[in-house]
C-alpha cells in the first residue's frame, strides 16, 4: 500500500492496512502488539490524520494498551496514561493499529536486541532494519502504514530511515513533547517519525509540535505552517559536511551523493564545504556513549518490579528488585548501566561524565559555526547500507565507524532539526542523505528536503514483502 497521509482514507483502508501489516509481520517481525482498533473507530476525530492508520514505537505510552519498550521487564506493563503525542495523534484523527519493535529500551542501533527478536529489512531479509526505531521504520517502508512514530536519541530514526528507503524526521529538541515516551537519555531524546515523503512529514510535525506543560523542556515558540514550505533552493547554500564525506570508504555511496549535489546545483543551489575539527569528530562517539549511558542508568532506575512491570518474587524487597532487574534486563542493557554508573561515580565524574558534557559543548559550538556559512548542512546518513544480521566486520575504531556512522548524533547533541531521506541504492538496498538546519527552522528544512526529493524522485517508495507479492 503506498497511500499517503495527505490522501483520503476510508474504514476499508484501515482494515486493509491491518491485514497488510499481519502479512508483512510474518516476514519482518516488526510488530510487538497489534492494536484492536474497534474502540478507537467509535470516535475518529476530523483532522489531518482522519482515519489514517499509524504505528507507534512501543516506547510510546498508550493507555490500556501493552507498552513494553521491547524489554522483558515491561512485558506486562499496561499504561494508565497516554503520551502527549498519542493524544495529539488521536485528536488529529489517526487510528493506532500497532505498537512496533525497538532495541530494548531504545538502546541500540540494530534492532537486534528487542525482546521479540530482530526486525528484518524489507529490501533484504538477511539485513537489519536499523534501530532503535526499526519496527516503525519497517512498517512504513513495507507499506503497512504511511506514518509511524519513533524516537531518536543518537540516530534511532534517521539511520533506519536510511536503511529502509524512507523519510525520517527528527525536529528540534523541545518541538515535540516527550511526555509519555519511555526515555533513553533525556537530554538527547527526541520524538521523531517516519513517512514516505516530505509533505507527509510536514503534515505530521504540524500535528505533533507544540508546547506541552507536562514537558518542561518543550518549547513555547509558535508552531509553523510546515506544509507551506518553499522547495525553491535557488541561491541557497548547501554545506557539505566534509568532516563526514572525507571518511566514507564506499565509492558508490560517494558517487550517489555527488550526483545528488550536481542535481541540486542544477536547481540553483550553491554547494560549499563546511567542517568540524577532526579531534571533535573523533570524540563524537565516546561523548555520546558516556552521556547516553550515564543518563540512561538513572532514567531506568524506576524499573524495579515493584509498582509495575515484571516483578520476580523474593524473600525481601531488595531481592525482588534485584531479581526483577537481573532477569528483566538483558545483559546488553545491564552492561550499559554499569558503564553509565561508572561514569557517574564521584571519583570518575570529572574525567568521564563532565568531560563528555564539556566536549559536547565544543562539538555543538563547532557544529553551529557550520551554519554561519550554509543554510543547510548535509552528508550521507551512513557510509553503508544496512549491515547483515550476522554483524559487520568493520573496524570499530576506524574513522568511518567512529565518524561516518555516528555523525547524526550532532543533531542530538545540538537539538537541531535533522531529516534523512532516500538518496539512492547500493546493492539494491537503499541509502539516505541527511539534511540539517538551525533550531526551529523545520519549515525551511522541509523545503530543502522537498528539493532533494524532487531531484531524486524517491518519494513514496514501498517495498512490499507480504504473501501476495512473494
Amino acid at each position: 500500500m503506498n497511500k499517503r497521509v495527505q490522501d483520503k482514507w476510508t474504514m476499508e483502508d484501515i482494515e486493509a492496512a491491518i491485514r497488510h501489516m499481519h502479512q508483512s509481520h510474518e516476514k519482518l517481525n516488526h510488530v510487538v502488539t497489534f492494536v484492536d482498533p474497534r474502540k478507537q473507530l467509535l470516535d475518529v476525530a476530523e483532522g489531518p490524520f482522519h482515519q489514517v492508520p499509524i504505528a507507534l514505537k512501543d516506547n510510546v505510552n498508550t493507555k490500556g494498551i501493552l507498552t513494553t519498550a521491547s524489554s522483558k521487564i515491561l512485558s506486562d506493563y499496561v499504561p494508565v496514561y497516554d503520551a502527549t503525542i498519542t493524544k495529539k495523534l488521536r485528536e488529529a484523527g489517526a487510528v493506532v493499529i500497532a505498537k512496533t519493535s525497538l532495541d530494548e529500551l531504545g538502546m541500540g542501533g540494530t534492532n537486534l536486541s528487542a525482546a521479540t527478536g530482530p526486525v528484518l529489512n524489507p529490501y533484504d531479509l538477511s539485513r537489519i532494519s536499523g534501530g532503535s526505531s526499526g519496527g516503525s521504520a519497517v512498517a512504513v517502508a513495507s507499506g503497512d502504514v504511511p506514518f509511524a512514530i519513533g524516537s531518536d536519541t543518537g540516530d534511532s530514526v534517521r539511520k533506519p530511515a536510511s536503511f529502509c528507503g524512507i523519510t525520517g524526521t527528527k525536529p528540534t529538541y523541545g518541538r515535540i513533547s516527550r511526555y509519555g515516551i519511555i526515555p533513553y537519555a533525556s537530554s538527547l531524546d527526541h520524538v521523531a517519525f517516519f513517512t514516505r515523503n516530505v509533505k507527509d512529514a510536514a503534515i505530521g510535525l504540524g500535528v505533533l509540535a507544540g508546547r506541552d506543560d507536562h514537558d518542561m523542556t518543550s518549547s513555547f515558540l509558535p508552531v509553523d505552517d510546515y506544509e507551506n514550505y518553499d522547495a525553491n533552493i535557488e541561491g541557497k547554500v548547501f554545506g557539505v559536511l566534509k568532516s563526514v564525506t572525507d571518511y566514507i570508504e564506499d565509492a558508490r555511496v560517494l558517487a550517489l551523493f555527488d550526483q545528488l549535489l550536481d542535481k541540486l546545483k542544477a536547481k540553483g543551489a550553491i554547494i560549499k564545504e563546511v567542517e568540524i575539527p577532526y579531534n571533535l569528530m573523533k570524540a563524537v562517539w565516546s561523548t555520546y556513549n558516556i552521556l547516553s549511558n550515564c543518563e540512561a542508568t538513572a532514567n531506568h532506575s524506576n524499573l524495579d518490579g515493584l509498582r509495575f512491570g515484571v516483578g520476580v518474587s523474593g524473600e525481601s524487597v531488595e531481592e525482588v528488585m534485584t531479581k526483577s532487574r537481573t532477569q528483566g534486563l538483558s545483559f546488553y542493557i545491564r552492561r550499559r548501566f554499569v558503564t553509565g554508573s561508572y561514569g557517574l561515580l564521584q571519583e570518575n565524574q570529572e574525567k568521564l561524565f563532565k568531560k563528555a558534557q564539556r566536549v559536547r559543548r565544543l562539538i555543538v559550538e563547532a557544529y553551529r559555526q557550520c551554519f554561519e556559512a550554509a543554510d543547510v548542512v548535509l552528508a550521507p546518513a551512513s557510509g553503508r547500507i544496512a549491515t547483515k544480521l550476522s554483524g559487520s566486520d568493520s573496524d570499530p575504531m576506524s574513522d568511518e565507524s567512529l565518524i561516518v556512522e555516528n555523525w547524526l548524533v550532532l543533531g542530538n547533541f545540538s537539538g537541531y532539526p535533522s531529516v534523512t531521506l532516500p538518496m539512492g541504492f547500493v546493492d539494491e538496498c537503499p541509502i539516505g542523505v541527511n539534511l540539517n538546519t538551525l533550531p526551529f527552522t523545520e519549515k525551511q528544512l522541509f523545503g530543502y528536503c522537498a528539493a532533494v526529493e524532487e531531484v531524486t524522485g524517491y518519494a513514496d517508495m514501498v517495498k512490499e514483502v507480504g504473501k501476495d507479492e512473494l
Binding site: P79, I182, H214, M216, D304
Partner: protein
C-alpha cells in the same frame, strides 16, 4: 576531661501546597492509600517532572525569613539511590545550586546560628513495616520539601531545641508548613561531634537520622555526646557514620559507616531546564511576606497586652489568628485576650481540642464581650452564654433565647424605683438616718418587679440618687 558538643541540624520540612513538587496530584492527609497520586508520583515509565510554582514561592519565603542569599536561577539535580520508597530510583533535589544559602536564624538568647543552605526536593512514599511484609502508600511520594541545613554552630541540646523551635515558628507563621513534628511535617537529622574546649578544629562527626520529636532530639544528643565522650576518654576514636535513634532503648544505633556510604552520583536533572525567577515576582513575594511571630508579639504588646499574654497568643498560630479576628469586632482587646487565654484555652486543654478545631466563632466571642461591657448581661450570665458559644452558636441568639437581656433603660428603672418609694415612703427617711439596708431593699424590690432583668448596677445608682434626694 570535658568536651564541647558541636551540633549541626538538617531539617526536612513538608511545604504546605495544594499539589506535589513535580506533579499535579493533590497533597492530602489521611486520604485512602494510593488515591492521591498520578503516574508521575508512581514513576511510571515515560513520566516527566513539572515544578510547582507555589512550592518555589514557599521555599523563597523560608529563604527570605532566614536571611538567605537567593539563587534566582532555579536548578535541580538527581540524587541516585535505590530504595523501595523512592519510586524513580532517584530523588530530584538541589545539590549543586540550592535556592537559598548563607542565612541565619536567631535563637531566643540572641545567638545567631548560620544556615548553610535551603534547598527544594521531594518526599518519598510512606512505608509500613509489618512483621512479614512491607506495605506502601505513595500519597506522600512527591510532596514538596525544603531541606534547611545549619552550620555546626549549636553547642548543646538546649540550643538545638531552641533552634528547632525558632525555625518551626518561622515556618508556621510564613504558612510555609504546618511545621508539626508529631505529624511528620518536620523531620530532623543531627550532626554531632565533640572537641576539647579551646580547640578550634572539629572532631569526627556522627549523623543521627530522622528524629521526630524535640524529646528525641534531646535524648539523642545527650546519649550521643556521652557515647562519644566515653570513647575519647577510653582512648578510642569515633567513627564517621550514620546512626539512628532507637526510641525503645533511647540509644543511637549504627546504620552505616563512611566506608559503606552511598555514592549518590549527583548530576543535573536533564528534564528541567534552569528556571529564571523574575525580579518582579521576587519583589512581590518580599512585599507580601506574612508577619513573623516576633513582629506579631511586638504588635500585640503595642495593643496593650502583657508580654506574657502576647507570647501565649502567638505561641499557637491559630490562637493568634483567632485573637486578631475577634478584635476586628470589638475594641475590648484585653477582654478578648482574657477570654481566649483563660476560658477558651482552658476549654481546649480540658477537651484536648486544637484551637483550630474550635466551634467558637470570633464574632460570637466579640459580641459576648460587648454584651458584658454594655451591661446587657452580667458576668455570671456570660459564663453560661460562653458555654453555648463553644457549641458554635451566636451570642445574641443565646442571650435572647435564654431571656437574659438586662433592662438598662434608665427611665423604666426609675419608674420602678418611684413605685417602690411610693409604696414605702419611710425608706427615704431611714436612708437619710443612716440605714444602708434601705438601698438594698429598693434594689431588691426593683429586681423583683422587673423579674430580674433590671441592670443591677444601674438600678443601684439610680436608687442611691433617689434616696439621697439628689
Amino acid at each position: 576531661m570535658n568536651f564541647e558538643v558541636i551540633i549541626g541540624i538538617e531539617i526536612h520540612c513538608e511545604l504546605k501546597t495544594t499539589t506535589k513538587m513535580f506533579s499535579g496530584a493533590p497533597v492530602t492527609f489521611g486520604q485512602a492509600p494510593n488515591s492521591a497520586v498520578n503516574e508521575i508520583d508512581l514513576a511510571h515509565p515515560g513520566t516527566l517532572p513539572c515544578v510547582n510554582k507555589e512550592a518555589v514561592r514557599k521555599a523563597l519565603l523560608a529563604c527570605y525569613a532566614c536571611h538567605c542569599e537567593i539563587d534566582t536561577l532555579v536548578r535541580f539535580d538527581r540524587k541516585n539511590y535505590y530504595y523501595s520508597d523512592l519510586p524513580k530510583g532517584y530523588q530530584i533535589t538541589q545539590q549543586f545550586h540550592p535556592i537559598g544559602s548563607h542565612g541565619y536564624i536567631t535563637l531566643s538568647t540572641g545567638k545567631k546560628v548560620r544556615l548553610n543552605r535551603i534547598h527544594m526536593e521531594e518526599d518519598t512514599a510512606k512505608q509500613f513495616h509489618l512483621s512479614d511484609k512491607t506495605e506502601m502508600d505513595f500519597n506522600r511520594a512527591g510532596v514538596p520539601l525544603v531541606e534547611i541545613v545549619s552550620e555546626p554552630d549549636l553547642r548543646s541540646s538546649a540550643e538545638a531545641i531552641d533552634y528547632v523551635n525558632q525555625l518551626r515558628e518561622i515556618l508556621e507563621y510564613l504558612d510555609v508548613s504546618d511545621a508539626k513534628m508529631e505529624e511528620g511535617s518536620i523531620r530532623c537529622d543531627i550532626n554531632i561531634s565533640l572537641r576539647p574546649y579551646g580547640y578550634d578544629g572539629f572532631g569526627t562527626k556522627v549523623e543521627i537520622k530522622n528524629l521526630n520529636s524535640l524529646a528525641n532530639i534531646e535524648r539523642a544528643i545527650e546519649f550521643e555526646s556521652e557515647r562519644q565522650s566515653e570513647l575519647y576518654l577510653r582512648g578510642k576514636s569515633v567513627i564517621q557514620e550514620t546512626r539512628r535513634f532507637d526510641e525503645a532503648s533511647r540509644t543511637t544505633k549504627s546504620m552505616r559507616t563512611k566506608e559503606t556510604a552511598l555514592d549518590y552520583k549527583y548530576f543535573p536533572e536533564p528534564n528541567i531546564f534552569p528556571i529564571r525567577l523574575s525580579e518582579k515576582w521576587l519583589k512581590e513575594i518580599q512585599d507580601n511576606m506574612p508577619e513573623s511571630a516576633k513582629a506579631k508579639r511586638e504588635r500585640f504588646v503595642g495593643l496593650g497586652l502583657s508580654e506574657t499574654d502576647a507570647a501565649i497568643l502567638v505561641s499557637q498560630r491559630p490562637l493568634a489568628a483567632f485573637f486578631e479576628e475577634t478584635i476586628q469586632y470589638t475594641d475590648q482587646i484585653k477582654a478578648v485576650a482574657n477570654w481566649l487565654l483563660v476560658d477558651t484555652l482552658g476549654y481546649c486543654n480540658k477537651e484536648n481540642l486544637p484551637v483550630a478545631d474550635l466551634k467558637l466563632k470570633p464574632k460570637a466571642l466579640a459580641d459576648l464581650i460587648d454584651l458584658i461591657q454594655n451591661k446587657t448581661i452580667s458576668s455570671k450570665q456570660a459564663k453560661e452564654v460562653f458555654a453555648q458559644l463553644l457549641e458554635g452558636r451566636d451570642a445574641g441568639e443565646v442571650v435572647k433565647s435564654k431571656g437574659m437581656t438586662q433592662v438598662s433603660d434608665a427611665g423604666f428603672i426609675q419608674s420602678l424605683i418611684d413605685e417602690v418609694l411610693a409604696e414605702n415612703p419611710q425608706l427615704i427617711a431611714d436612708y437619710r438616718a443612716g440605714k444602708d439596708r434601705s438601698l438594698g431593699f429598693v434594689v431588691g424590690q426593683v429586681m423583683k418587679k422587673s423579674q430580674g432583668k433590671a441592670n443591677p448596677a444601674l438600678t443601684s445608682d439610680l436608687a442611691k440618687k433617689a434616696l439621697s434626694g439628689q
